[in-house]
Amino acid sequence: MLERILRILEEDCRTTPKEIATRLGIEEAEVQRLIAEADKQGVIMGYGAIVNWAAVAPERVFAFISVSAQPERDIGFDDIANRIARFPEVHSVYLVSGTHDLTVVVEAEDFREVAAFVAEKLAPLPGVRSTATSFVLKIYKLEGRLMGDGGEGDRRLAVSP
């Protein structure tokens, strides 16, 4: 049941517990209890809006930085990853398989800020062996939602049999 509640909130976090309860055919109190528990346990990490920044601040940039790093005995990449994650311009950090070790998503006011972050903060970190920065040029799908003219809008006839 929790998973079904989470799916609804993931789709629209403004959905009220009352409506969720009705849609799932359970008691409102039960919905409130499950959500409170998920909040407490960090299953729900927050309730933000999904913002298409390109529409508001076109100069704002996102970059995917592929980082090769030196793992450490017993803790692997945890220390270096946490250290990178604490920088405010870092949006997300993933340990990945493949040709490099960490994928770091950076959000900044403009590309110079990204360049400065890489040159002055990220690359000099002890344990970082190399970085490769890919700037996001255009977003086609974000958080499960298609951007722009990806087929949105109801094109059905208003009345049909």
Binding site: R4, G25, L157, V159
Partner: protein, 394 residues
């Protein structure tokens, strides 16, 4: 307008066919802006992308030709596997399955393949608007059988039996039902099967909404003991796979019936569109998660709308299938058409008058909940405001 040549005349039966009650309402809605429509009869999801991609791929590789009249064998085999796995019925893909241009074509074919002039077909109503017309265009006579709100619009065996005459050839119904959302369980269908067997009738069972069954599983009429030989099963991809615009359905029946239907189909349609067939095949093979997610979403909206209608004081039985609710509007003192027209004009919410689906739908309206939650919330608010604006009935 210039005069038509004297011998260019419209066939008198066609000329006298009453227009669909839906058509009239469609014309009213057309041209109005900001209408929230609960008047549609199709999914609000686009076709799952995997299926669209399969069709694009098929075009790119040059698969743009005719197919076998019956439909591509891999698709018929996939349909046979699916029917066996989901509903426990076995059909031979070589001889017992015909792929058609939607269930609409299959319905037309079965009537033309089976009926002699004057033969009667019992039709459970309220029902899809094409049922009676298809019977009568084939020269038959549609004998409507009422179903009732107090029976949750289920078909009753005693009503069926009472309508049988020497000319009765068969019975046609669709469950889960458009427009009521009613379903027939195995226990509900059993007495109907007994009547069908006793009189040697054919049962044309339109199961296009089969997957849209909530709180339980759909029973295929052909899966009842002894019923396969009596049944022409109609189904398709429009609802469960959100493929309405592709036009793809199928009929399953004993081989001589499929053979007869295919004779007509070969001359009038040749085959169903190849792109749609490739897309459907992909759907059956790969898109179960997408299908199930759509059904879960309909079910949530069904509960939401039902609760909202009850809160407003509209009398509504719980529909357990399709994507419609069919509340009674009698408590407002308005008939179906007045209710729908006034709701449209004052609050810009479109619903379809129940009598568009047959006389026994009178006093009800069909509301389709296959639209966004955002639309549904707004529509329910407007509907509540409309009800508040009506003078209180004592």
């Amino acid at each position: 307008m210039s005069r038509l040549p004297s011998r260019l005349r419209i066939n008198s039966y066609v000329a006298n066919m009453p227009p669909s009650g839906i058509r009239k309402f469609f014309d009213l809605v057309l041209g109005m802006e900001d209408v929230i429509s609960l008047g549609v009869g199709e999914p609000d999801f686009p076709t799952p992308w995997r299926m669209c991609d399969a069709a694009v791929d098929c075009m790119q590789r040059g698969y743009t030709s005719y197919t076998s009249n019956l439909g591509m064998l891999p698709l018929r085999s996939a349909i046979a596997d699916y029917l066996r796995a989901e509903f426990g019925v076995s059909y031979d893909p070589e001889t017992e399955i015909l792929v058609t241009n939607g269930v609409s074509e299959a319905l037309d074919l079965v009537m033309r393949a089976l009926l002699e002039p004057g033969d009667e077909v019992l039709v459970a109503e309220p029902c899809y608007v094409a049922y009676a017309a298809c019977v009568e265009l084939a020269g038959g006579r549609a004998v409507m059988i009422r179903t009732r709100a107090e029976d949750e619009f289920k078909l009753r065996a005693d009503d069926v039996e009472a309508a049988i005459t020497d000319r009765t050839r068969g019975i046609l119904f669709g469950y889960p039902n458009n427009p009521t959302g009613a379903v027939m369980t195995r226990e509900d269908l059993q007495p109907i099967a007994e009547v069908v067997a006793r009189y040697g009738l054919v049962c044309i069972s339109d199961e296009i909404y089969a997957h849209l069954t909530y709180n339980g599983t759909h029973t295929c009429f052909a899966s009842l003991p002894g019923m396969k030989e009596h049944t022409v099963l109609l189904n398709g991809f429009s609802k469960a796979y959100a493929m309405t615009g592709w036009r793809l359905g199928y009929a399953c029946a004993p081989a001589p019936v499929i053979e007869a239907m295919n004779r007509i189909h070969a001359y009038t349609a040749l085959c169903a569109p190849i792109l749609a067939q490739f897309a459907a095949l992909e759907g059956l093979r790969q898109c179960r998660p997408e299908r199930d997610a759509m059904i879960e979403s309909y079910d949530q909206r069904r509960r939401y709308v039902l609760a909202a209608l009850k809160e407003m004081g509209l009398d509504c039985f719980e529909p357990k299938g399709a994507f419609y609710v069919f509340p009674s509007v009698r408590s407002t003192g308005l008939d179906s058409e007045e209710f729908a027209e006034r709701l449209l004009n004052s609050q810009k919410v479109a619903v379809v008058p129940g009598n568009a689906f047959g006389a026994s739908g009178a006093g009800h309206v069909r509301c389709c909940y296959a639209t966004s939650m955002e639309n549904l919330r707004a529509a329910m608010e407007r509907l509540a405001a409309f009800l508040d604006s009506l003078p209180r009935q004592v």
